[in-house]
């Protein structure tokens, strides 16, 4: 399918439009909130919350017998919040570290949820089919009202972020200090965690329990590579999350039998991979290039310094010397000598080299600079 054709289809086809909008909004809100989770080193919190939501969905179905999304998601919200509170309780009341607490709650709630799901599936009730879609998500079931709900929560989240921006920032950076300034850190903490839980629950229908945490982490981890400002990071994470939703939906809609949720997560992962390699400041590629460049520069400086030592004993600093004597020096290479010639620091003529006045000055500066740094 042509790209233009696809874009036209997004605008004309109700289902495709709903899914595209829904996944874009979902990606944006999870990206935003994910930045906070990542910076608090609570990356796994999202995973624990989404798994903890599963028994809530099952119990909501058992009680009401209804498969209405909103009712099931309220169940998910309640059990997700209970899971979060237990994690907080375990870490503050026992010796256990937070990773242990997260792992415990995640497996406990998920195990219980799976147990309930299998129990429900054995019921002689024709209505029970399809609950397992919350495991891996099914974007095709999104309807317009779902998108409105997501948009409302995203707007609310944005408002709270803008209002409490400085409170969130100081809580993330230095919680104890924030407390001495008189801020109720518990309140800020609960506020941000509640929104994370809410965003995760909203995404369960689309992406599912198992992969939901990737929506939270991937855009934030990718965004962190490109900027050193919290504001820009949150903004960029929202953009990346939204794009992952749009592109993921497009790929899954144009290829047969590709489930939307996993494709979105894969697109987000590609963003992460790309950012880890290509970001100019923190990326692996440019780090490597900088390392090699620095090493070459240093070799060059060492060669120049060695030449300077030979030259400085002579009255005429441009007096030629044989290239062979450079072979005694470890850092010497033909390539290095060529570079020095290119820079007009050295002149080479028939197996002899001589230092230019420009090279002599550069070598002198080298020493002055080193002296200053000591």
């Amino acid at each position: 399918m042509e790209i233009i054709e696809y874009i036209q289809l997004v605008f004309s086809d109700y289902t495709l439009r709903t899914i595209t909008l829904g996944t874009a909004v979902l990606g944006a809100v999870t990206g935003m909130l994910g930045s906070f989770a990542v910076l608090r080193k609570e990356s796994l919190l999202g995973d624990a919350i989404s798994h903890a939501a599963l028994p809530g969905i099952a119990i909501a179905f058992l009680i009401t017998g209804s498969k209405d999304t909103n009712i099931l998601l309220i169940g998910a919200l309640v059990s997700g919040l209970i899971g979060t509170l237990w994690i907080r309780g375990i870490t503050s009341k026992t010796h256990l570290k937070s990773d242990t607490a997260l792992g415990l709650i995640l497996s406990l709630f998920f195990g219980f949820g799976m147990l309930l799901l299998t129990y429900i599936q054995k019921q002689p009730n024709a209505n029970q089919a399809g609950l397992d879609k919350y495991l891996f998500g099914q974007a095709a079931t999104l309807v317009e009202s779902d998108v409105w709900l997501m948009t409302f929560v995203t707007g609310l989240c944005l408002l709270v972020l803008l209002l409490f921006w400085k409170e969130f920032k100081i809580l993330l950076f230095d919680k104890d200090y924030a407390q001495t300034l008189g801020f109720n850190t518990k309140f800020i903490d609960i506020l941000i965690t509640s929104f994370i839980v809410l965003a995760i629950v909203l995404g369960l229908q689309t992406v599912g329990v198992v992969l939901m945490s990737a929506m939270l982490l991937a855009p934030a981890a990718a965004a962190r590579q490109w900027t050193n400002s919290l504001g820009k990071m949150v903004f960029l994470a929202a953009i990346l999350g939204g794009s992952a939703g749009v592109f993921g939906t497009a790929i899954s809609a144009t290829q047969n039998n590709l489930s939307t949720g996993p494709v979105i997560v894969l697109v987000a992962s590609v963003f992460v991979l790309f950012s880890f390699i290509f970001s100019p400041k923190r990326g692996l590629l440019f780090k490597r290039i900088r390392l090699i460049k620095n090493r070459n520069d240093l070799e060059l400086q060492k060669t120049l310094a060695f030449m300077y030592h030979i030259v400085e004993d002579h009255d005429d600093t441009s007096h030629p010397h044989t290239i062979r004597m450079l072979n005694n020096f470890q850092g010497y290479s033909r390539k290095g000598l060529r570079k020095l010639v290119d820079k007009n620091y050295v002149e080479v003529e028939g197996g002899m080299w001589s230092m230019t006045s420009k090279g002599f000055k550069a070598a002198e500066n080298l020493y002055n600079q080193n002296g200053k740094n000591d």
Partner: protein, 244 residues
Amino acid sequence: MEKIAVKVDDLTVAYNYKPVLWDIDLKIPEGVLMAIVGPNGAGKSTLIKAILGILKPIAGSVTIFDKPYKSQRKHVAYVPQKGSVDWDFPTTALDVVMMGTYGSLGWIKRPGIKEKKRALEALEKVGMLSFKNRQISQLSGGQQQRIFLARALVQDASIYFMDEPFQGVDATTEVAIINILKELRKAGKTVVVVHHDLQTVPEYFDWVTFLNVKKIATGPVKDIFNDDNLTKTYGINYKVSIQK
């Protein structure tokens, strides 16, 4: 008699049944530059954190200028240990110093031009003005410590609590920091510092508290900084040559 800046009564703190601070009574007069010394695990940082309400004590009370600490937060500034935060956090030196203004701003209100000016002044005081836009992970340990100090200076408090401000800094930074602390004392502020280097106590401080779970002694350096108290605190026969 001089005014008492900080008064601690019967303060007891425990982690899981093990007492870390036991029945501490402490009076810190206004305008002193005081070191808290003691061996590792003596509860020095814990004492500061308990005074500031970061840790909940089992028993005891803290008053600042004769009023409960909670109503006096504006008079108190805190410099945490440098290692207590993640310096890879995406923000700049200036932004961290600005956090010192958040307390006086209160909820929701954002820092403006006035707050920025105060932060820049503090940065200049600690000699870090040219680093204001530097990403904090790009700062050296000594520079990070200066940033923390600047953040506390911005608070313009009467009492400063500092948790090991000399830890891992070079000689130049140490001199710069102690000069600022002495300036604070000259301006009538009270400064309480968790300190490790016993040799520099007589040179830097005029008041000292010996702590090892219990309070061993507190008073002017010239009166109580002696081998007897050092031995009681550190449990070994400690001898320092004190320049009086």
